[in-house]
């Protein structure tokens, strides 16, 4: 049974490259417009009010297309359709959230370091003490939401900037 499992695993690994090369994941994020335009894009890619907003990889320009003209958005674009509530949240201030997330990152880092230290201590002396991983879990509990919060703040900034640039405004 173990050998069969190993065989399946080896078969999976050997085919993984082929499967990967056939899929979208091997290519950089791109969109196809009007069956003719192939545009390599940067993150974030989003749809708002039936318009697709993309930033080109080559010229760093923001382009907008009506969604009816879009033929394909690759998987690596991770595009998002902004709802009305998300549109309204784009203008919210981020100072409080930034402070909160930085506090959470610092607290989480302290707990994680303590957890890693106790893990190293346990690995060096496995029979002497037990390891519960409480500190490590607590650290991650702080860091993961903080990272998500920071990501949402960065996305908010980038999306706002893209919307403004699409209106022909320039940031110097």
């Amino acid at each position: 049974m173990q050998q069969l499992k190993l065989l399946f695993f080896i078969v999976f690994l050997s085919n993984n490259g082929w499967v990967f090369s056939q899929s979208d994941w091997a290519l950089k994020p791109y969109v196809i417009v009007n069956d003719s335009l192939y545009i390599e894009v940067k993150h974030p890619v989003f749809i708002m009010d039936s318009t697709l907003y993309v930033r080109t990889k080559d010229s760093n320009q923001v382009l907008t297309f009506p969604t009816k003209d879009i033929n394909y958005i690759s998987k690596r674009c991770f595009y998002h359709r902004l709802s009305e509530g998300q549109q309204n949240r784009l203008s919210n201030s981020i100072n409080t959230n930034a402070y909160l997330s930085s506090c959470m990152v610092i607290t989480g880092s302290v707990f994680s370091v303590m957890g890693i230290e106790s893990l190293i201590r346990f690995l060096n002396n496995p029979g002497v003490q037990t390891y519960y991983g409480t500190y490590l879990i607590t650290g991650l509990t702080f860091i993961v939401p903080a990272a998500l919060l920071i990501r949402s703040m960065v996305l908010k900034k980038l999306r706002t900037r893209m919307i403004l640039e699409s209106k022909g405004l320039r940031f110097s």
Binding site: Q87, N88, L90, S91, S93, A98, L164, F171, S172
Partner: protein
């Protein structure tokens, strides 16, 4: 002694007089944040600047008046600008609802300093509210 005093007074007068010298208009440096218009003019603005539909709402940092200009006239924004894009519904909502959170800002001011950031957010919201209310009296 008197002549020395008179000379000193003359020097002081000349120094004071020179400080009122005229500066040519093209050498005035507008510090950020500012808005650059397509005609080349730069207007110093207070943060935040609101962009709503096809209009830009901003407060001039010098005369403290609110201006409403179409986006077609605007070239761009300087680096330190806090430009907010929002729908008109959101802008109206901020402009018509009371700004809350002062209690929590004061309560969390010390010892964590959390209140400073809440207060900063509240101030900006209050500023947007002021822009909305003043912009209703501005002719587009």
């Amino acid at each position: 002694m008197d002549s020395m005093k008179n000379t000193m007074l003359l020097y002081l007068f000349l120094i004071q007089f020179s400080s009122f010298g005229q500066v040519p208009r093209d050498t005035i440096i507008v510090k950020p944040p500012f808005i650059t218009f397509k005609n080349g003019m730069r207007y110093p603005v207070s943060k935040p600047v609101v962009i709503c539909d096809t209009m830009c709402y901003f407060t001039n940092r010098i005369d403290k008046n609110v201006y409403v200009e179409p986006l077609s006239k605007i070239e761009g924004f300087s680096k330190k600008n806090d430009v907010r894009w929002m729908t008109y519904e959101k802008f109206k909502k901020i402009g018509t609802t009371p700004v809350l959170g002062y209690f929590w800002a004061i309560m969390t001011f010390y010892p964590t300093g959390f209140g400073v950031f809440i207060m900063s957010d509240i101030t900006k919201r209050q500023h947007i509210k002021k822009i909305y209310n003043k912009s209703r009296n501005v002719n587009h």
